[in-house]
């Protein structure tokens, strides 16, 4: 990475600023482009309205109106921000219009699925590392299954469970678990195998049992791999939950917000749900990143 290229000099604040400046510039550019695109994409509608009303539009009128439409083709950033703020802070948390409530529905299913998928993935990885028959049987299929668009069957899983009378959190959690399972499995098998022959020989010469070998050598050395795959897994779990909320009938969750917004042409609602999902994903990945740094530092593995 480029971090090492930055010389120690103007202190922590200056360095943080030096790193943030390019990001802020790019973000600013994105916002500017977004505003221009909003004006450009909403302009035909505004012109059309003005032509019907026989009104003459000045340039400033045009811009003001394109940025304040009720149902714009592309809502302007401030409209999305307002929609997001209204969804998060403007509603009581129990209200069906509150993004906090919908976000919680999505988050709970995501976390449940993530927990199931992670535990199952680590468990199977332990089995694969210790049993050659399991390794040769399961691993090729686990790797091959990564290439199959599993997510596409998510709505089917929901409908099948609904036909058996199971609704709510569980079916979505199963999709999320299924999606987070494979990254964890593949990553952990790799991680448990990182100790090289020398280290394993050393454990052997200390007469370590297989359990001791696992707890004292394989598990600690697999942790960097664990966290890398956990980050992938939680993002996958969130996507799985959101897609699981898409089929008709789902009324709660960020995915349902997306779908109802698309049915009724409420673009601001779609964009706020999208940003709520993005914020949720970012927070979850960052939490795991923080956990990773904390654990690796405690173990002396921090880079």
């Amino acid at each position: 990475m480029t971090e090492s290229a930055i010389p120690l000099g103007p202190g922590v604040l200056g360095r943080g600023f030096g790193r943030a400046l390019p990001i802020l510039t790019v973000l600013l550019a994105i916002v500017v482009i977004w505003y221009l695109a909003a004006v450009w994409m909403n302009a035909p509608w505004v012109r059309d309205q003005a032509a019907r009303a026989d009104a003459v539009l000045t340039a400033s009128d045009l811009i003001r109106q394109t940025l304040t439409l009720e149902r714009p083709v592309l809502p302007a950033p401030h409209q999305v921000a307002a929609g997001l703020w209204d969804g998060i802070a403007g509603q009581s948390i129990t209200s069906k219009r509150s993004l906090v409530w919908h976000g919680w529905v999505t988050l709970s299913a995501t976390l449940a699925g993530f927990a199931i998928g992670t535990v199952a993935g680590i468990g199977l990885a332990v089995g694969i590392v210790h049993n050659r028959a399991m390794d040769q049987s399961v691993m090729p299929w686990a790797v091959a299954s990564q290439t199959v668009p599993i997510l596409a069957i998510a709505p089917m899983v929901i409908v099948v469970f609904a036909s058996m009378g199971v609704t709510g959190l569980l079916p979505k959690a199963i999709i999320a678990a299924w999606l987070s399972f494979f990254p964890v499995l593949v990553g952990m098998v790799k991680g448990f195998r990182t100790p090289d022959a020398m280290q394993l020989d050393l454990m052997h010469s200390w007469n370590a049992s297989r359990a001791q070998q696992f707890w004292r050598l394989r598990l600690p050395s697999s942790l960097p791999y664990l966290f890398a795959s956990l980050k992938v897994a939680i993002a996958a779990a969130l996507v799985g939950t959101i897609v699981g909320e898409l089929p008709a009938g789902a009324t709660a969750g960020l995915g349902a917000r997306l779908l109802s917004g698309s049915y009724y042409g409420q673009t601001v609602q779609i964009w706020s749900a999208l940003f709520a999902a993005a914020i949720l994903a970012a927070v979850l990945v960052m939490l795991i990143g923080a956990l990773e740094r904390l654990t690796l530092r405690r173990m002396g593995l921090a880079r």
Partner: protein
């Protein structure tokens, strides 16, 4: 008592695989994997038949096969609509755009430092969520699906490609400089080849993403063909064997797509350590 044959098959296959896995040659490794797959299919078929599970919940593999054989025409039109038109063309466009963007921002460290964290961040976001917006903008036909796929594959490839272009070490770049190689020569002869393993890593990750994007985008509106459309309508009619046949098509297409990219990778990056034949 009806569980007995299921357990018998399971234990038999397990014993066979345990025995076979001790040899650990190429042939037995393949055999073990195939036996495991076949065992799962047989157990699935047996469980569905013995416990008389209704096809609405879980159709037997034989029913799925029959549905696949009976609906090849439908499956083919869906395949062309979703995978060839929606996923494949868009994957190519997205990959090309990402590679060109990576080369463009490569010359500016400022842009790199600004775009990379954002690209990494966006790559982790639930991008499928933009599907309803893009369906609204580009209409119901394959163009909107292609747009979703382009956005989905762009960022992972961009991030990988930028990392790949930075993968040459100073010694190699110095060597190019001592030969007075202009920017383009050093890009073409040194840095692009060095970036290939990274690029293919991104390309392989995004094959699955492309299929997912194309199928999921159809849930938000589509013409009366396409895999996502077929899955959602067949679920509505509780024609689960057809749904599973579509999933089978998606699985085959996904594996083929990945396999072809991996094959090209092997041809292009034959020099890379990970592609050398394993010995010992």
């Amino acid at each position: 008592m009806s569980a007995l044959p299921v357990i018998a098959v399971w234990l038999g296959a397990l014993a066979l695989n345990t025995w076979l896995s001790r040899f650990d040659t190429r042939a037995t490794r393949l055999a073990v994997a195939l036996i495991f797959g076949a065992t799962i299919l047989i157990l699935w078929e047996m469980i569905v038949r013995i416990y008389a599970i209704p096809p609405v919940i879980l159709p037997a593999p034989s029913q799925i096969g029959a549905s696949f054989a009976a609906n090849t025409a439908i499956l083919w039109t869906d395949f062309v609509q979703t995978i060839v038109k929606g996923a494949l063309t868009a994957w190519l466009i997205g990959a090309l755009a990402a590679v060109l963007t990576a080369i463009a921002i490569d010359r500016s460290p400022f842009l790199q430092r600004g775009l990379l964290p954002i690209g990494n961040f966006v790559a982790a976001l639930p991008i499928v969520g933009i599907a309803p917006i893009l369906v609204m903008w580009f209409g119901f036909d394959w163009q909107s699906k292609a747009a979703v796929v382009v956005v989905m594959v762009f960022f992972p490839i961009l991030v990988n490609m930028v990392a790949g272009l930075a993968a040459t070490d100073p010694m190699q770049r110095d060597l190019m400089a001592t030969w007075a190689a202009p920017y383009w020569a050093s890009l073409w002869k040194l840095r692009l080849p060095a970036a290939m393993p990274f690029l293919f890593n991104g390309l392989k990750i995004t094959t699955t993403l492309a299929l997912i994007g194309a199928i999921v985008a159809e849930f938000f509106g589509s013409p009366t063909k396409g895999m996502g459309f077929r899955i959602s309508t067949a679920v509505g009619r509780l024609d689960l064997p057809l749904v599973w046949a579509e999933i089978l098509v998606a699985a085959i297409a996904g594996s083929l797509f990945y396999g072809i990219v991996a094959l090209i990778e092997k041809k292009v990056t034959f020099w890379h350590p990970s592609q050398r034949p394993q010995r010992g």
